[in-house]
Amino acid sequence: MRAFLLRRLVHAVFVVWGVVTVVFFLVRLTGDPAALLVDATATREEVERARQALGLDRPLLVQYAEFLRAAPLGDFGVSLRERRPAMGMVLEHFWPATAQLALAALVLAVVLPIPLGVIAATHRNGALDHASRLGSLFLQSMPSFWLGLMLILLFAVALGGLLPAFGSGTLSHLILPALTLAAAPLAQNVRLIRAGMLEVLQEDYVRTARAKGLAERGVVYRHALRNAAGPFLTVSGLSLGFMLSGTIVIETVFSWPGMGRLIVQAVPGRDFPVIQAAVFLFAILFVAVNLVVDVLQGLLDPRARVFGDGA
């Protein structure tokens, strides 16, 4: 177990380093932010001066070395647009705004499917099951921002401001964006729970238990849920990653003041330090979540050989 953790940590560090390096060179390929920071009627000399002031005229590798030196200490430089520490800005936008949104969506996508999936499985081929299957397919088949726009149209406009159309701060502000973000993973998880439950419900030991007259409820929940838990965990972990990147679009639609909106402005605005800091944070979260999911999976189901032979 310890060897496993160590290996995975090293791997995680490598992945984060890889992501950040790729972004570093990639965004510098997208071009020069200096032109954006001066008047459109500026001269070439003024743009050049701005570049020098930002340290962008130094050789690429020098900038990279400087970046590698400072980043592990948490120093990602100063935002080119707002002249404030980049990592500070990113964290400000991440907590509480994006974190709230992602966690609320995660709770919806992880908790709601359990009863829904169970109902679908136990009423197999009944009306409820078909309804859940169709609903699930629908939710996974539409672009999330379209769903968001339709929800705004419905709740904020047509129903006369039942729920707010923009901004953050209260629970009612959180509902629409969280629902939109959670929709597709929620649908997916309902199918997963259902599938996992169905598999187990067919199993011999369940049939035996039923034959022996053991309480249906206990049988269903204990064995079946445990079986579904494995893939369910994997998908939840991936869902969180998907949701973190989904915030990019959803926050724009709902004017949610989080990290997604920050990135949407930083990339075309070529605010390199902010882009780097934000991608770094994303990568760390993604990798950490995957690590946790792997560990949990290994604990839950030793058969999965997550920890390697002879763990």
């Binding site: 920071l37 459109a40 001269t43 070439r44 930002l54 707002e82 936008h93 401001g161 953050s168 003041p257």
Partner: protein
């Protein structure tokens, strides 16, 4: 009213009377309509500002925030005319000297007095002089005054409320380009440093900054000691809502009182709603298609001159555009056609005969200029999509088809604004290239518009021929107002005929607000003015 209410009414009047008796308290009614002097006015804007230090930049978004806190020597009235701001008067004392007489009794929000020393300090910052003497850092400025106005030589104070600025050549517009710059406090900036200006600055303006939650909102409170009298609302909140649909939804739901940048079609629909009022004002934003008319040594051309150097070709393109259809159909009347390079609401504007919609004449002109089936005219148009709003993108789409209809082979390349700026900076626009962009002005004078083609800047792809350049420079030096206006008029007429760009439209901005908002008048400036705006009870 029953007998029960009467005593309550008297009591209420007595209580209300107390603060009124105490001094210059904000009024509680406007034209007989009772207002709420403790109200918070909530305004929805399209974006947040990235800086509050005026030196760093004063674009249309930033001006809205900066000009609530800071003020300039020259203020603007609701008709767009210059009026006294922090300066009571300004005049040239001789050909090479301007004198500003400052307003007395003005203090910054922290109590620091405004006087000639403040102005001298700000001039030093604008021209980047004496920075080490003051112990402050330089900032990457949006407009470097020392480069753009190198003829301004020195400045001095005559007394505590009079400042003189000296130039090396006559400058007709000094009152404008110096007078519109918002002024920051001297002692406060020296003490806290220039970075603090972007954090929680103090100014002389009618609103004090109370809180700033980035990308979310900025909250202000009434400046009780404001020289122009207290604002009618107690608090102001500028809320960021990037999506137009969300802004309008918020207005309908009563979550905000006023929204800016209402799309034309929505403005029409909202105007029919009984609880909402729509107001619009002509802006200085002029949208154009800029064409590559540079000579081959003036950019990264690969040895080719720009394909649009011939004025006949450019005029032909102007004749191919059906502006009336665009203004009626896309803008629903919320735009205007202006053949003068100067915005209609700028000081010095002279009306020019509009470019007629005449595709036949356009084709004839193109043929005259040597365009034929064997040698077709191609245009690679760079479009910064989503940068100037939906109506702009639609207009360019429509114009592209109109140009194709007269035989120009247009290909559109959409890119983001930053990439466009980069192309322009590096000079890598293709020889048959062009780009669609809009140009606005922070200043009141026409000079800001006509100087576009005088110096080598990012947007100057059709530099003035020598005679136009000479005419332009004479307008800059002509201090006599009447003579200058005449020269400007001649310049505008000649530029109209020379057609450096394909002019598309001049913007009329639409605002929508709840019927509870009183006395809101949109300005022609880049910022909104909330001094006289009140919320009905």
């Amino acid at each position: 009213m029953t007998a029960l209410h009467r005593p309550v009414l008297w009591l209420a009047l007595a209580i209300l009377g107390l603060p009124l008796a105490a001094g210059a308290a904000p009024p509680t009614s406007v034209d007989g309509v009772p207002i709420d002097p403790e109200a918070e006015l909530v305004v929805a804007l399209t974006d947040d500002t990235t800086n509050l230090d005026p030196r760093i930049g004063m674009g249309s978004i930033r001006s809205n925030y900066i000009r609530q806190i800071f003020e300039s020597l020259v203020d603007v009235d609701r008709q767009g005319r210059p009026v006294p701001g922090l300066a009571l008067s300004w005049k040239p004392v001789n050909d090479l000297t301007w004198e500003f007489v400052l307003r007395r009794g003005v203090t910054f929000h922290d109590g620091e007095p405004f006087n000639a020393d403040t102005v001298l300090f700000n001039l030093d910052r604008m021209f980047r002089k004496n920075l080490d003497k003051w112990g402050i850092k330089d900032v990457a400025a949006g407009t470097a005054f020392d480069k753009v106005y190198p003829f301004v030589t020195r400045w001095e104070k005559v007394d505590d409320y009079t400042v003189r600025v000296h130039t090396s050549e006559p400058s007709a517009t000094l009152w404008d380009f110096l007078g519109r710059e918002p002024l920051v406090p001297r002692a406060w900036t020296i003490k806290h440093g220039v970075e603090a200006l972007n954090d929680k600055p103090v100014g002389t303006g009618p609103w004090k900054l109370v809180a700033w939650k980035r990308k979310d909102h900025m909250a202000f409170e009434r400046n009780d000691g404001y020289w122009g009298g207290p604002t009618l609302a107690k608090r102001l909140r500028l809320q960021v809502i990037p999506e137009a649909a969300a802004r309008i939804a918020a207005l309908r739901a009563g979550q905000v009182h006023l929204v800016e940048a209402v799309p034309p079609l929505d403005a029409e629909v909202l105007g029919k709603t009984s609880t909402i009022r729509v107001a619009s004002s002509v802006q200085k934003l002029a949208c154009r298609i800029y064409l590559n008319g540079r000579t081959k040594d003036a950019y990264e051309s690969g040895g080719k001159d720009g394909a649009f150097a011939d004025p006949r070709v450019r005029m032909a393109l102007n004749l191919a555009v059906n502006r009336e259809a665009i203004i009626a159909k896309i803008f629903h009347g919320l735009a205007l056609a202006n053949a003068s390079p100067v915005a209609t609401v700028a000081y010095g504007y002279a009306a020019q005969p509009p470019y007629p919609y005449d595709p036949a004449r356009a084709k004839a002109l193109l043929a005259e200029a040597g365009v034929s089936a064997a040698q077709p005219l191609t245009l690679q148009l760079l479009l910064p999509a989503k940068h100037y709003g939906q109506a702009f993108d639609e207009t360019v789409g429509a114009v592209v088809e109109m140009l194709k209809a007269v035989g120009v082979q247009v290909t559109v390349q959409t890119l983001d604004f930053g990439t466009l700026l980069q192309t322009l900076t590096k000079g890598t626009l293709p020889p048959n290239g062009g780009f669609a962009a809009c140009r606005t002005s922070n200043n009141l004078d026409a000079d800001d518009f006509v100087r576009d083609w005088a110096t080598t800047t990012l947007v100057n792809w059709t530099p003035y021929p020598p005679e136009l350049l000479a005419l332009y420079q004479s307008t800059r030096r002509q201090v006599d107002a009447k003579k200058r206006l005449a020269a400007l008029a001649e310049l505008q007429q000649r530029v109209r005929d020379w057609a450096p760009v394909v002019s598309l439209y001049q913007e009329k901005k639409a605002y929508a607000h709840s019927a509870r908002v009183l006395q809101f008048v949109p300005t022609q400036e880049l910022n909104m003015d909330f001094r006289g705006v009140a919320l009905r009870r």
